[in-house]
Protein backbone atom coordinates (compact mmCIF):
# COMPACT_ATOMS: atom_id res chain seq x y z
CA UNK A 1 0.00 0.00 0.00
CA UNK A 2 1.46 3.36 -1.06
CA UNK A 3 1.37 6.43 1.14
CA UNK A 4 -1.58 7.94 -0.73
CA UNK A 5 -3.73 4.88 -0.01
CA UNK A 6 -2.52 4.82 3.60
CA UNK A 7 -3.55 8.46 4.05
CA UNK A 8 -6.92 7.99 2.35
CA UNK A 9 -7.79 4.85 4.33
CA UNK A 10 -6.56 6.07 7.72
CA UNK A 11 -9.22 6.19 10.40
CA UNK A 12 -8.85 7.05 14.07
CA UNK A 13 -8.76 3.71 15.90
CA UNK A 14 -10.21 3.48 19.41
CA UNK A 15 -10.45 -0.28 19.85
CA UNK A 16 -7.07 -1.87 20.54
CA UNK A 17 -5.68 -5.36 21.14
CA UNK A 18 -3.88 -5.70 24.47
CA UNK A 19 -0.70 -6.76 22.61
CA UNK A 20 2.33 -4.61 23.53
CA UNK A 21 4.14 -2.51 20.92
CA UNK A 22 7.74 -3.77 20.68
CA UNK A 23 10.46 -1.44 21.90
CA UNK A 24 12.15 -1.20 18.47
CA UNK A 25 8.86 -0.08 16.91
CA UNK A 26 8.44 2.58 19.60
CA UNK A 27 11.97 3.80 18.88
CA UNK A 28 11.12 4.18 15.21
CA UNK A 29 8.00 6.17 16.08
CA UNK A 30 10.05 8.48 18.30
CA UNK A 31 12.67 8.91 15.55
CA UNK A 32 9.87 9.89 13.17
CA UNK A 33 8.65 12.49 15.66
CA UNK A 34 12.14 13.80 16.34
CA UNK A 35 12.92 14.20 12.61
CA UNK A 36 9.84 16.23 11.74
CA UNK A 37 10.26 19.75 10.40
CA UNK A 38 10.79 22.32 13.15
CA UNK A 39 10.67 26.10 12.77
CA UNK A 40 14.29 27.31 12.91
CA UNK A 41 15.08 23.68 13.86
CA UNK A 42 14.56 24.75 17.48
CA UNK A 43 12.86 21.43 18.37
CA UNK A 44 10.71 22.52 21.32
CA UNK A 45 9.39 18.97 21.67
CA UNK A 46 9.20 16.50 24.52
CA UNK A 47 7.30 13.23 24.32
CA UNK A 48 6.23 11.30 27.40
CA UNK A 49 5.66 7.60 26.68
CA UNK A 50 2.92 6.14 28.88
CA UNK A 51 2.80 2.33 28.98
CA UNK A 52 2.29 1.25 32.61
CA UNK A 53 -1.35 0.20 33.19
CA UNK A 54 -1.79 2.38 36.26
CA UNK A 55 -0.52 5.47 34.45
CA UNK A 56 -2.64 4.70 31.39
CA UNK A 57 -5.72 4.54 33.61
CA UNK A 58 -4.85 7.85 35.23
CA UNK A 59 -4.19 9.51 31.86
CA UNK A 60 -7.56 8.20 30.59
CA UNK A 61 -9.21 9.82 33.59
CA UNK A 62 -7.31 13.09 33.14
CA UNK A 63 -8.48 13.44 29.52
CA UNK A 64 -12.11 12.92 30.47
CA UNK A 65 -12.59 9.19 30.98
CA UNK A 66 -11.92 7.93 27.47
CA UNK A 67 -11.67 4.11 27.67
CA UNK A 68 -9.35 3.77 24.65
CA UNK A 69 -6.64 5.77 26.40
CA UNK A 70 -6.66 3.20 29.21
CA UNK A 71 -6.80 0.26 26.79
CA UNK A 72 -4.15 1.45 24.35
CA UNK A 73 -0.78 -0.17 25.16
CA UNK A 74 0.97 3.14 24.46
CA UNK A 75 0.06 6.79 24.72
CA UNK A 76 2.45 9.53 23.68
CA UNK A 77 2.03 12.92 25.35
CA UNK A 78 3.32 15.62 23.00
CA UNK A 79 4.55 18.64 24.94
CA UNK A 80 5.77 22.07 23.94
CA UNK A 81 9.05 22.20 25.84
CA UNK A 82 10.58 25.63 26.42
CA UNK A 83 12.17 24.55 29.73
CA UNK A 84 15.09 22.92 27.91
CA UNK A 85 15.63 25.96 25.68
CA UNK A 86 15.48 28.40 28.59
CA UNK A 87 18.00 26.40 30.61
CA UNK A 88 20.36 26.13 27.65
CA UNK A 89 20.15 29.86 26.96
CA UNK A 90 20.77 30.68 30.62
CA UNK A 91 23.85 28.46 30.70
CA UNK A 92 25.35 30.62 27.96
CA UNK A 93 24.34 33.94 29.54
CA UNK A 94 21.53 34.65 27.14
CA UNK A 95 17.76 34.48 27.37
CA UNK A 96 14.96 32.66 25.62
CA UNK A 97 11.45 33.92 26.38
CA UNK A 98 9.31 31.67 24.21
CA UNK A 99 6.80 31.42 27.06
CA UNK A 100 6.06 35.14 26.58
CA UNK A 101 6.14 35.18 22.75
CA UNK A 102 2.91 34.05 21.09
CA UNK A 103 4.80 33.58 17.84
CA UNK A 104 7.21 31.05 19.41
CA UNK A 105 4.27 29.29 21.04
CA UNK A 106 2.32 28.97 17.79
CA UNK A 107 5.30 27.74 15.77
CA UNK A 108 6.22 25.30 18.55
CA UNK A 109 2.68 23.93 18.50
CA UNK A 110 2.89 23.52 14.71
CA UNK A 111 6.19 21.68 15.22
CA UNK A 112 4.83 19.17 17.70
CA UNK A 113 1.81 18.50 15.47
CA UNK A 114 4.13 17.77 12.52
CA UNK A 115 5.93 15.35 14.83
CA UNK A 116 2.69 13.74 15.94
CA UNK A 117 1.39 13.37 12.39
CA UNK A 118 4.67 11.73 11.32
CA UNK A 119 3.97 9.18 14.06
CA UNK A 120 0.36 8.68 12.95
CA UNK A 121 1.39 7.83 9.40
CA UNK A 122 4.40 5.67 10.28
CA UNK A 123 2.29 3.85 12.87
CA UNK A 124 -0.28 3.17 10.14
CA UNK A 125 2.37 1.71 7.88
CA UNK A 126 3.59 -0.51 10.72
CA UNK A 127 0.09 -1.93 11.28
CA UNK A 128 -0.77 0.20 14.27
CA UNK A 129 -3.87 2.29 14.81
CA UNK A 130 -3.92 5.61 16.62
CA UNK A 131 -6.22 8.32 17.91
CA UNK A 132 -5.55 11.92 18.89
CA UNK A 133 -6.83 13.14 22.26
CA UNK A 134 -6.93 16.93 22.42
CA UNK A 135 -8.73 17.16 25.76
CA UNK A 136 -5.40 17.04 27.60
CA UNK A 137 -5.51 20.82 26.97
CA UNK A 138 -8.55 21.11 29.25
CA UNK A 139 -6.78 19.23 32.07
CA UNK A 140 -3.36 20.73 31.67
CA UNK A 141 -2.80 21.40 35.39
CA UNK A 142 -3.70 17.86 36.41
CA UNK A 143 -1.66 16.38 33.58
CA UNK A 144 1.37 18.48 34.48
CA UNK A 145 1.15 17.51 38.12
CA UNK A 146 0.70 13.78 37.57
CA UNK A 147 3.44 13.45 34.96
CA UNK A 148 5.76 15.78 36.93
CA UNK A 149 6.01 18.24 34.06
CA UNK A 150 8.03 21.33 35.01
CA UNK A 151 7.32 24.98 34.33
CA UNK A 152 7.60 26.16 30.70
CA UNK A 153 6.43 22.76 29.45
CA UNK A 154 2.80 22.15 28.42
CA UNK A 155 1.14 18.92 27.27
CA UNK A 156 -0.76 19.86 24.10
CA UNK A 157 -1.76 16.57 22.50
CA UNK A 158 -2.03 12.90 23.35
CA UNK A 159 -1.72 10.17 20.74
CA UNK A 160 -2.90 6.71 21.86
CA UNK A 161 -1.63 3.77 19.84
CA UNK A 162 -2.02 0.02 19.55
CA UNK A 163 -2.79 -2.84 17.21
CA UNK A 164 -6.40 -2.36 16.05
CA UNK A 165 -9.07 -4.77 17.26
CA UNK A 166 -11.50 -3.06 14.89
CA UNK A 167 -11.39 -0.04 12.61
CA UNK A 168 -14.44 2.21 12.23
CA UNK A 169 -16.04 2.67 8.84
CA UNK A 170 -14.95 5.67 6.86
CA UNK A 171 -16.29 8.86 8.36
CA UNK A 172 -17.59 11.42 5.91
CA UNK A 173 -15.38 14.29 4.74
CA UNK A 174 -16.13 17.53 2.96
CA UNK A 175 -15.68 17.34 -0.79
CA UNK A 176 -12.23 18.35 -2.00
CA UNK A 177 -13.71 21.27 -3.91
CA UNK A 178 -15.10 22.79 -0.70
CA UNK A 179 -11.71 23.20 0.99
CA UNK A 180 -9.64 24.23 -2.04
CA UNK A 181 -9.32 27.76 -3.37
CA UNK A 182 -7.33 28.84 -6.40
CA UNK A 183 -5.12 31.94 -6.30
CA UNK A 184 -7.48 33.63 -3.81
CA UNK A 185 -10.19 32.74 -1.32
CA UNK A 186 -13.50 31.92 -2.98
CA UNK A 187 -16.46 32.95 -0.82
CA UNK A 188 -19.22 30.38 -1.32
CA UNK A 189 -22.85 31.40 -0.90
CA UNK A 190 -24.58 30.42 2.33
CA UNK A 191 -26.73 27.95 0.37
CA UNK A 192 -23.64 26.32 -1.17
CA UNK A 193 -22.01 26.05 2.26
CA UNK A 194 -25.11 24.49 3.81
CA UNK A 195 -25.37 22.01 0.94
CA UNK A 196 -21.70 21.05 1.32
CA UNK A 197 -22.15 20.16 4.98
CA UNK A 198 -25.48 18.38 4.51
CA UNK A 199 -23.86 16.25 1.81
CA UNK A 200 -21.09 15.39 4.27
CA UNK A 201 -23.28 14.44 7.22
CA UNK A 202 -26.37 13.00 5.53
CA UNK A 203 -29.79 12.72 7.05
CA UNK A 204 -30.53 13.12 10.74
CA UNK A 205 -33.60 10.94 10.18
CA UNK A 206 -31.39 7.87 9.73
CA UNK A 207 -31.35 5.35 12.59
CA UNK A 208 -29.48 6.89 15.50
CA UNK A 209 -26.68 4.26 15.51
CA UNK A 210 -25.99 4.82 11.83
CA UNK A 211 -26.06 8.55 12.44
CA UNK A 212 -23.58 8.35 15.32
CA UNK A 213 -21.23 6.22 13.21
CA UNK A 214 -20.95 9.16 10.85
CA UNK A 215 -21.16 12.08 13.25
CA UNK A 216 -20.03 10.98 16.73
CA UNK A 217 -18.10 7.75 16.31
CA UNK A 218 -16.66 8.05 19.85
CA UNK A 219 -20.10 7.17 21.22
CA UNK A 220 -20.28 3.98 19.18
CA UNK A 221 -16.70 2.99 19.98
CA UNK A 222 -17.04 3.73 23.69
CA UNK A 223 -20.14 1.56 23.97
CA UNK A 224 -18.14 -1.45 22.75
CA UNK A 225 -15.72 -0.94 25.65
CA UNK A 226 -17.85 0.00 28.66
CA UNK A 227 -20.95 -1.12 30.49
CA UNK A 228 -23.09 2.02 30.42
CA UNK A 229 -24.40 3.27 27.08
CA UNK A 230 -23.20 6.69 26.00
CA UNK A 231 -25.37 6.43 22.87
CA UNK A 232 -28.52 6.21 24.99
CA UNK A 233 -27.68 9.36 26.92
CA UNK A 234 -26.89 11.23 23.67
CA UNK A 235 -30.24 10.11 22.22
CA UNK A 236 -32.01 11.47 25.31
CA UNK A 237 -30.15 14.75 25.07
CA UNK A 238 -31.06 15.04 21.40
CA UNK A 239 -34.70 14.74 22.38
CA UNK A 240 -34.41 17.19 25.26
CA UNK A 241 -32.61 19.81 23.15
CA UNK A 242 -34.94 19.18 20.21
CA UNK A 243 -32.04 18.69 17.80
CA UNK A 244 -33.38 18.95 14.26
CA UNK A 245 -30.24 19.47 12.15
CA UNK A 246 -26.62 18.36 11.81
CA UNK A 247 -25.46 21.85 12.74
CA UNK A 248 -27.52 21.84 15.93
CA UNK A 249 -26.22 18.38 16.80
CA UNK A 250 -22.66 19.64 16.50
CA UNK A 251 -22.93 23.06 18.13
CA UNK A 252 -25.74 22.64 20.64
CA UNK A 253 -25.06 19.11 21.81
CA UNK A 254 -21.55 17.97 21.00
CA UNK A 255 -19.67 21.28 21.29
CA UNK A 256 -22.19 23.61 22.99
CA UNK A 257 -20.91 26.89 21.68
CA UNK A 258 -21.24 29.08 24.78
CA UNK A 259 -19.62 26.42 26.95
CA UNK A 260 -16.68 26.25 24.54
CA UNK A 261 -16.16 30.00 24.95
CA UNK A 262 -16.38 29.70 28.74
CA UNK A 263 -13.42 27.31 28.71
CA UNK A 264 -11.08 30.18 27.78
CA UNK A 265 -10.51 31.27 31.37
CA UNK A 266 -9.43 27.81 32.51
CA UNK A 267 -7.13 27.34 29.55
CA UNK A 268 -5.44 30.73 29.99
CA UNK A 269 -5.08 30.03 33.73
CA UNK A 270 -3.44 26.66 33.06
CA UNK A 271 -1.06 28.23 30.57
CA UNK A 272 -0.24 30.91 33.16
CA UNK A 273 0.36 28.22 35.80
CA UNK A 274 2.90 26.70 33.42
CA UNK A 275 4.60 30.09 33.03
CA UNK A 276 3.07 30.94 29.63
CA UNK A 277 1.69 34.46 29.40
CA UNK A 278 1.36 36.47 26.19
CA UNK A 279 -0.55 39.45 27.56
Amino acid sequence: MGLYELIMKRRSVRNFESQEIPEDVIEKLVDAANNAPSGGNIQPLSIILVREPERRAELADIVGGQPWVKNAPLSMIFCIDFYRLKKWAATFDTQFKGEKALSHFLIAYADIMCSAQNVVLLAGELGLGSVYIGTIQSSMDRGREYFEIPKYVVPMMVLSLGYPRSVPKNVPKLERAAVVHREKYRVDTDAEIAQTFEKKYGSLEDTRENYFERTFVEVVEADKQQRESWADSVKEEMKKLEIKSNAEFLFKLRYPTDQMVKMNDGLFRSLKNAGFDFS
Copy 2:
Protein backbone atom coordinates in the same frame (compact mmCIF):
# COMPACT_ATOMS: atom_id res chain seq x y z
CA MET B 1 11.96 3.62 0.08
CA GLY B 2 9.70 2.93 3.03
CA LEU B 3 8.00 5.65 5.03
CA TYR B 4 10.54 5.45 7.86
CA GLU B 5 13.40 6.19 5.47
CA LEU B 6 11.36 8.95 3.82
CA ILE B 7 10.77 10.59 7.20
CA MET B 8 14.39 10.22 8.31
CA LYS B 9 15.79 11.60 5.04
CA ARG B 10 13.31 14.45 4.62
CA ARG B 11 14.88 17.90 4.51
CA SER B 12 13.22 21.24 3.89
CA VAL B 13 13.89 22.07 0.25
CA ARG B 14 14.29 25.71 -0.78
CA ASN B 15 15.80 25.32 -4.23
CA PHE B 16 13.24 24.30 -6.84
CA GLU B 17 13.16 23.49 -10.54
CA SER B 18 10.78 25.70 -12.52
CA GLN B 19 8.90 22.58 -13.69
CA GLU B 20 5.16 22.76 -12.94
CA ILE B 21 3.50 20.22 -10.65
CA PRO B 22 0.86 18.35 -12.68
CA GLU B 23 -2.78 18.94 -11.78
CA ASP B 24 -3.41 15.29 -10.82
CA VAL B 25 -0.49 15.41 -8.37
CA ILE B 26 -1.89 18.58 -6.81
CA GLU B 27 -5.26 16.88 -6.44
CA LYS B 28 -3.63 14.00 -4.59
CA LEU B 29 -1.89 16.43 -2.25
CA VAL B 30 -5.18 18.18 -1.52
CA ASP B 31 -6.89 14.82 -0.90
CA ALA B 32 -4.14 13.98 1.58
CA ALA B 33 -4.75 17.27 3.38
CA ASN B 34 -8.52 16.86 3.36
CA ASN B 35 -8.34 13.32 4.79
CA ALA B 36 -6.14 14.18 7.75
CA PRO B 37 -7.48 13.65 11.27
CA SER B 38 -9.68 16.50 12.47
CA GLY B 39 -10.92 17.06 16.03
CA GLY B 40 -14.61 16.12 16.05
CA ASN B 41 -14.19 15.82 12.25
CA ILE B 42 -15.13 19.52 12.09
CA GLN B 43 -12.62 20.19 9.27
CA PRO B 44 -11.95 23.90 9.82
CA LEU B 45 -9.53 23.89 6.87
CA SER B 46 -9.21 25.95 3.73
CA ILE B 47 -6.23 25.72 1.38
CA ILE B 48 -5.40 28.43 -1.12
CA LEU B 49 -3.29 27.15 -4.03
CA VAL B 50 -0.93 29.82 -5.34
CA ARG B 51 0.60 29.07 -8.75
CA GLU B 52 0.46 32.26 -10.83
CA PRO B 53 3.93 33.91 -10.97
CA GLU B 54 2.63 37.34 -9.98
CA ARG B 55 0.83 35.96 -6.95
CA ARG B 56 3.83 33.83 -5.98
CA ALA B 57 6.00 36.95 -6.03
CA GLU B 58 3.52 38.84 -3.87
CA LEU B 59 3.25 35.95 -1.40
CA ALA B 60 7.06 35.80 -1.20
CA ASP B 61 7.07 39.49 -0.34
CA ILE B 62 4.28 39.11 2.22
CA VAL B 63 6.17 36.40 4.11
CA GLY B 64 9.31 38.52 4.32
CA GLY B 65 11.03 38.28 0.95
CA GLN B 66 11.88 34.61 0.85
CA PRO B 67 13.07 33.80 -2.70
CA TRP B 68 11.99 30.14 -2.59
CA VAL B 69 8.35 31.15 -2.16
CA LYS B 70 8.56 33.06 -5.43
CA ASN B 71 10.47 30.28 -7.18
CA ALA B 72 8.35 27.35 -6.00
CA PRO B 73 5.77 26.44 -8.67
CA LEU B 74 3.15 25.91 -5.94
CA SER B 75 2.50 27.33 -2.51
CA MET B 76 -0.36 26.13 -0.36
CA ILE B 77 -1.74 28.57 2.20
CA PHE B 78 -3.27 26.60 5.08
CA CYS B 79 -6.04 28.59 6.78
CA ILE B 80 -8.14 28.01 9.86
CA ASP B 81 -11.61 28.49 8.40
CA PHE B 82 -14.43 29.24 10.85
CA TYR B 83 -16.33 31.33 8.28
CA ARG B 84 -17.78 28.22 6.64
CA LEU B 85 -18.81 26.72 10.00
CA LYS B 86 -20.42 29.95 11.21
CA LYS B 87 -22.43 30.33 8.02
CA TRP B 88 -23.58 26.73 8.16
CA ALA B 89 -24.63 27.06 11.80
CA ALA B 90 -26.49 30.29 11.07
CA THR B 91 -28.39 28.67 8.21
CA PHE B 92 -29.79 26.15 10.69
CA ASP B 93 -30.59 28.72 13.38
CA THR B 94 -27.72 27.80 15.64
CA GLN B 95 -24.39 29.41 16.45
CA PHE B 96 -20.73 28.48 16.20
CA LYS B 97 -18.32 30.78 18.05
CA GLY B 98 -14.99 29.13 17.37
CA GLU B 99 -13.47 32.58 16.84
CA LYS B 100 -14.10 33.29 20.55
CA ALA B 101 -13.13 29.86 21.90
CA LEU B 102 -9.39 29.32 22.35
CA SER B 103 -9.98 25.59 22.55
CA HIS B 104 -11.58 25.49 19.06
CA PHE B 105 -8.76 27.67 17.73
CA LEU B 106 -6.02 25.41 19.12
CA ILE B 107 -7.64 22.19 17.90
CA ALA B 108 -8.27 23.77 14.50
CA TYR B 109 -4.62 24.75 14.28
CA ALA B 110 -3.60 21.17 15.18
CA ASP B 111 -5.95 19.96 12.43
CA ILE B 112 -4.48 22.10 9.70
CA MET B 113 -0.95 21.09 10.71
CA CYS B 114 -1.90 17.40 10.45
CA SER B 115 -3.21 18.23 6.98
CA ALA B 116 -0.04 20.07 6.05
CA GLN B 117 2.24 17.31 7.31
CA ASN B 118 0.26 14.72 5.32
CA VAL B 119 1.08 16.86 2.28
CA VAL B 120 4.77 17.12 3.20
CA LEU B 121 5.18 13.35 3.40
CA LEU B 122 3.09 12.50 0.34
CA ALA B 123 4.93 15.19 -1.62
CA GLY B 124 8.21 13.57 -0.56
CA GLU B 125 7.04 10.18 -1.82
CA LEU B 126 6.03 11.75 -5.13
CA GLY B 127 9.50 13.24 -5.63
CA LEU B 128 8.62 16.76 -4.52
CA GLY B 129 10.42 18.91 -2.00
CA SER B 130 8.70 21.31 0.37
CA VAL B 131 9.35 23.97 2.97
CA TYR B 132 7.11 25.44 5.67
CA ILE B 133 6.84 29.22 5.93
CA GLY B 134 5.43 30.28 9.30
CA THR B 135 6.01 34.01 8.83
CA ILE B 136 2.61 34.37 7.16
CA GLN B 137 1.44 34.72 10.78
CA SER B 138 3.38 37.98 11.09
CA SER B 139 1.76 39.39 7.94
CA MET B 140 -1.72 38.08 8.48
CA ASP B 141 -3.49 41.36 7.61
CA ARG B 142 -1.64 41.79 4.34
CA GLY B 143 -2.08 38.12 3.46
CA ARG B 144 -5.80 38.27 4.19
CA GLU B 145 -6.24 41.38 2.10
CA TYR B 146 -4.26 40.21 -0.94
CA PHE B 147 -5.85 36.75 -1.07
CA GLU B 148 -9.33 38.19 -0.32
CA ILE B 149 -9.69 36.08 2.82
CA PRO B 150 -12.92 36.88 4.70
CA LYS B 151 -13.48 37.38 8.41
CA TYR B 152 -13.18 34.31 10.64
CA VAL B 153 -10.50 32.85 8.36
CA VAL B 154 -6.79 33.16 9.17
CA PRO B 155 -3.78 32.01 7.15
CA MET B 156 -1.58 30.12 9.64
CA MET B 157 1.00 28.30 7.53
CA VAL B 158 2.40 28.32 4.00
CA LEU B 159 3.89 25.23 2.38
CA SER B 160 5.94 25.87 -0.76
CA LEU B 161 6.49 22.90 -3.05
CA GLY B 162 8.34 21.92 -6.19
CA TYR B 163 10.75 19.47 -7.74
CA PRO B 164 14.08 19.88 -5.91
CA ARG B 165 17.02 21.43 -7.73
CA SER B 166 19.16 20.62 -4.70
CA VAL B 167 18.55 19.25 -1.23
CA PRO B 168 20.49 20.60 1.75
CA LYS B 169 22.67 18.28 3.80
CA ASN B 170 21.12 16.79 6.88
CA VAL B 171 20.66 19.38 9.58
CA PRO B 172 21.52 18.27 13.07
CA LYS B 173 18.80 17.06 15.43
CA LEU B 174 18.73 16.50 19.18
CA GLU B 175 19.42 12.92 20.20
CA ARG B 176 16.33 10.78 20.55
CA ALA B 177 17.05 10.30 24.26
CA ALA B 178 16.81 14.04 24.89
CA VAL B 179 13.20 14.39 23.73
CA VAL B 180 11.82 11.12 25.13
CA HIS B 181 10.57 10.63 28.66
CA ARG B 182 9.23 7.41 30.15
CA GLU B 183 6.08 7.37 32.29
CA LYS B 184 6.83 10.88 33.58
CA TYR B 185 8.87 13.95 32.65
CA ARG B 186 12.58 13.54 33.41
CA VAL B 187 14.18 16.83 34.40
CA ASP B 188 17.73 16.83 33.03
CA THR B 189 20.44 18.82 34.80
CA ASP B 190 21.45 22.14 33.27
CA ALA B 191 24.82 20.63 32.34
CA GLU B 192 23.14 17.70 30.57
CA ILE B 193 20.86 20.10 28.68
CA ALA B 194 23.76 22.28 27.60
CA GLN B 195 25.72 19.25 26.45
CA THR B 196 22.75 17.97 24.44
CA PHE B 197 22.47 21.21 22.48
CA GLU B 198 26.22 21.64 21.99
CA LYS B 199 26.34 18.10 20.58
CA LYS B 200 23.55 19.05 18.18
CA TYR B 201 25.04 22.31 16.90
CA GLY B 202 28.77 21.65 17.06
CA SER B 203 31.49 24.24 17.22
CA LEU B 204 30.98 27.92 16.49
CA GLU B 205 34.66 28.07 15.56
CA ASP B 206 34.01 26.11 12.39
CA THR B 207 34.12 28.06 9.10
CA ARG B 208 31.10 30.33 8.93
CA GLU B 209 29.63 28.66 5.82
CA ASN B 210 29.81 25.22 7.43
CA TYR B 211 28.30 26.67 10.57
CA PHE B 212 25.40 28.26 8.69
CA GLU B 213 24.71 24.99 6.88
CA ARG B 214 23.98 23.44 10.26
CA THR B 215 22.39 26.35 12.09
CA PHE B 216 20.85 28.79 9.58
CA VAL B 217 20.51 26.94 6.30
CA GLU B 218 18.14 29.63 4.93
CA VAL B 219 21.14 31.96 4.62
CA VAL B 220 23.06 29.45 2.52
CA GLU B 221 20.05 28.58 0.36
CA ALA B 222 19.07 32.21 -0.18
CA ASP B 223 22.55 33.13 -1.35
CA LYS B 224 22.24 30.58 -4.17
CA GLN B 225 19.13 32.40 -5.41
CA GLN B 226 19.83 36.11 -5.01
CA ARG B 227 22.48 38.68 -5.80
CA GLU B 228 23.21 40.16 -2.37
CA SER B 229 24.82 37.93 0.26
CA TRP B 230 22.75 37.31 3.38
CA ALA B 231 25.62 35.24 4.83
CA ASP B 232 27.91 38.29 4.78
CA SER B 233 25.45 40.44 6.70
CA VAL B 234 24.93 37.67 9.28
CA LYS B 235 28.69 37.38 9.70
CA GLU B 236 28.90 41.12 10.34
CA GLU B 237 26.06 40.98 12.83
CA MET B 238 27.77 38.10 14.65
CA LYS B 239 30.83 40.29 15.03
CA LYS B 240 28.84 43.32 16.14
CA LEU B 241 26.82 41.37 18.73
CA GLU B 242 29.95 39.49 19.85
CA ILE B 243 28.24 36.11 19.43
CA LYS B 244 30.29 33.50 21.26
CA SER B 245 27.91 30.55 21.60
CA ASN B 246 25.24 28.62 19.72
CA ALA B 247 22.62 29.80 22.20
CA GLU B 248 23.56 33.45 21.65
CA PHE B 249 23.48 32.93 17.88
CA LEU B 250 19.94 31.59 18.13
CA PHE B 251 18.42 33.95 20.70
CA LYS B 252 20.38 37.17 20.22
CA LEU B 253 20.81 37.14 16.47
CA ARG B 254 18.36 34.82 14.75
CA TYR B 255 15.36 35.13 17.09
CA PRO B 256 16.21 38.15 19.28
CA THR B 257 14.19 37.25 22.32
CA ASP B 258 12.80 40.66 23.29
CA GLN B 259 11.78 41.37 19.71
CA MET B 260 9.91 38.06 19.58
CA VAL B 261 7.92 39.10 22.66
CA LYS B 262 7.17 42.51 21.11
CA MET B 263 5.49 40.80 18.17
CA ASN B 264 2.56 39.73 20.41
CA ASP B 265 0.66 42.99 19.98
CA GLY B 266 0.71 42.80 16.20
CA LEU B 267 -0.32 39.16 16.18
CA PHE B 268 -3.22 39.71 18.58
CA ARG B 269 -4.30 42.75 16.55
CA SER B 270 -4.28 40.74 13.32
CA LEU B 271 -6.30 37.98 14.93
CA LYS B 272 -8.77 40.59 16.19
CA ASN B 273 -8.99 42.12 12.71
CA ALA B 274 -10.00 38.66 11.49
CA GLY B 275 -12.68 38.45 14.19
CA PHE B 276 -10.71 36.18 16.55
CA ASP B 277 -10.76 37.32 20.16
CA PHE B 278 -10.37 35.04 23.16
CA SER B 279 -10.20 37.67 25.89
